[in-house]
């Protein structure tokens, strides 16, 4: 069976997609050294700057969020593979405008290892860097065992919030403190209904059969044990939202942020329906949904499903959120 993807040589996937992305986002970014995506606003930045990195194949993440009010540099690895620590180190060096750099890392084995080695390289070079790791997937571990929680789409709103704080002139201490607090407070859970295939070698990410979905699915088809028959949007949201509300925890009167992150083949139509159901569910619990986000944000190729992310917000976060941003995949 042929892979039903419009690609060329699988070995060139990352190179070609980044070249195409650089054309599509020419007003926001420059592509440097093949896999460093640099914001056009970096040149004039006189503030704390923000660097992130990650595997490709999750488009628009991570590169799609580089630009004004979001990331200063995103370093792309290869398909589902973190970039090497050397290039991330160089990105941090390039990003540093004398106010220090915040390095945002999603909790995945490869990313964590690259993050650790990058920090070592930075420390050797005497760079002023702080690392914040997002670990929000509630499906595998309790909040106390944060190291076992995967980093999912919740990093994306954090990109904007941290960047807004940096733009407001906050110090690296302050920005990283805010980012750490945010990372620790949010929570995400994912569901998949159809699995994707690895674009480089055509290997399937699993098989959910004709009837089932799996709650707790990771970003690359790593299962989470919640396999069950497909349910309606409302029922699915109830299961997932309830789990997040308990985990965070959220209570009556809380100001809440909600994100529906489509995995790839789940339509925006469905995402809107899910958002509607989720907001109704939370309002039913007496909470106020003060902001939301819906769309294909951090995808898993053509996987059908979505991630539901929530966080408890206060007025400070909301104010940061409501500052402008101009990137390929997020505008404010």
């Amino acid at each position: 069976m042929k892979m039903k993807k419009f690609i060329n040589d699988p070995a060139d996937l990352t190179k070609e997609l980044l070249q195409g992305y650089a054309l599509a986002a020419a007003d926001c970014i420059d592509l440097v050294a093949e896999n460093m995506v640099v914001s056009k606003t970096l040149a004039d930045a006189d503030r704390v700057t923000i660097v992130a990195f990650g595997g490709t194949g999750h488009e628009p993440a991570v590169s799609g969020f580089v630009g004004d009010g979001m990331l200063d540099i995103a370093v792309a690895g290869d398909i589902f593979a973190a970039p090497n620590p050397q290039i991330v180190f160089e990105a941090v060096k390039l990003a540093d405008k004398g106010h220090g750099v915040l390095l945002l890392v999603l909790n995945h084995a490869g990313d964590m290892l690259t993050g650790s080695m990058t920090m070592k390289l930075c420390q050797k070079a005497g760079l002023n860097v702080k690392k914040v790791v997002t670990q929000e997937d509630i499906s595998n571990a309790t909040r106390e065992n944060g190291d076992d929680r995967r980093g999912l789409g919740g990093a994306v709103p954090l990109y904007h919030i941290a960047a807004a704080a940096a733009k407001a002139g906050k110090s690296l201490e302050e920005v990283s403190g805010l980012a750490q607090k945010y990372a620790d407070s949010m929570a995400t859970i994912a569901v998949a209904a159809r699995c994707a295939t690895h674009p480089a070698n055509g290997a399937p990410f699993g098989d959910l059969g004709d009837e089932d979905m799996e709650i707790g699915m990771g970003q690359h088809g790593e299962g989470g044990g919640g396999r069950q028959p497909m349910k309606t949007a409302k029922e699915t949201i109830e299961i997932m939202a309830n789990a997040l509300v308990k985990d965070i925890p959220l209570v009556k009167g809380d100001k809440v942020f909600v994100m529906i992150n489509g995995s790839g083949a789940t339509t925006l139509m469905e995402q809107f329906i899910l958002l509607n159901d989720c907001v109704a569910y939370l309002e039913g619990l007496g909470m106020e949904v003060v902001a939301n986000m819906a769309g294909n944000i951090l995808t898993v190729q053509e996987q059908a499903g979505f991630q539901l992310n929530m966080a408890k917000w206060d007025d400070e976060i909301l104010a940061y959120w409501n500052t402008p941003a101009k990137t390929f995949a997020f505008n404010k």
Partner: protein, 206 residues
């Protein structure tokens, strides 16, 4: 005694052994991971081979292993890259700055390689990672008597046993850990590629 040219030939052999196992490695990774371990290891090993060129005796063990570590470091390849780059970096730290090694020096290379990697990895035997293979392999090397051939033979046996044992463990690291008990029965992808590393080194010494 083992000279650097012979050692480089062993590294080429190990690389070829891993490259030949691409499909097997990716198949394992597709069960509980992201289906790319074979692909990544192939990239890593091909890069090592092409950067080092034909085996020769112009470099010391220390310099060669440091170059290998740097070659790996230049690849965008997920977990395997920092892990393998660090392993070679540690091996370089443990290696003498000369073009041949005796049995004790050979043992030291692997000892330092393991210790440096352990710091980054944090995984122990039983956590279902490449360490399931590396730890018994390096232990066997340390405990072995005789010449380098005999030492490496013992290390390879240790590696093979370790990779086999990884089947019995519940994943504690990497992408597979979310599958918990389901991972019992399947070996760890990284444990298997590490086994082929030793198998290949050993073949290259024949």
């Amino acid at each position: 005694m083992l000279n650097i040219k012979e050692f480089m030939t062993m590294i080429v052999s190990a690389a070829d052994e891993i490259i030949a196992a691409e499909v097997e490695l990716t198949d394992i990774d597709s069960k509980f991971g992201d289906a790319d371990h074979g692909l990544t290891m192939k990239k890593v090993m091909n890069r090592i081979k092409s950067d080092m060129g034909e085996p020769n005796d112009t470099q010391t063990f220390k310099a060669f292993l440091d170059d290998v570590s740097m070659s790996v470091m230049m690849i965008n390849g997920g977990s395997a890259v920092p892990l393998w780059s660090t392993l070679f970096d540690g091996m370089s730290v443990g290696a003498p700055d000369k073009t041949d090694v005796d049995a004790a020096e050979f043992k030291e290379i692997f000892k330092q390689g393991y210790e440096t990697l352990a710091e980054l990895s944090k995984a122990k035997v039983g956590d279902k990672t490449m360490m399931d293979t590396l730890i018994p392999a390096v232990e066997a090397i340390q405990n072995a008597e005789g010449d380098i051939k005999e030492i490496l033979e013992a290390g390879t046996k240790g590696a093979e046993a370790g990779a086999e044992n990884s089947k019995n463990f519940v994943s504690k690291f990497g992408r597979a850990k979310s599958y918990k008990e389901q991972t019992i029965g399947t070996p760890d992808a990284g444990a298997v590629s590490m086994k082929y590393f030793f198998v290949g080194l050993n073949k290259g010494l024949q």
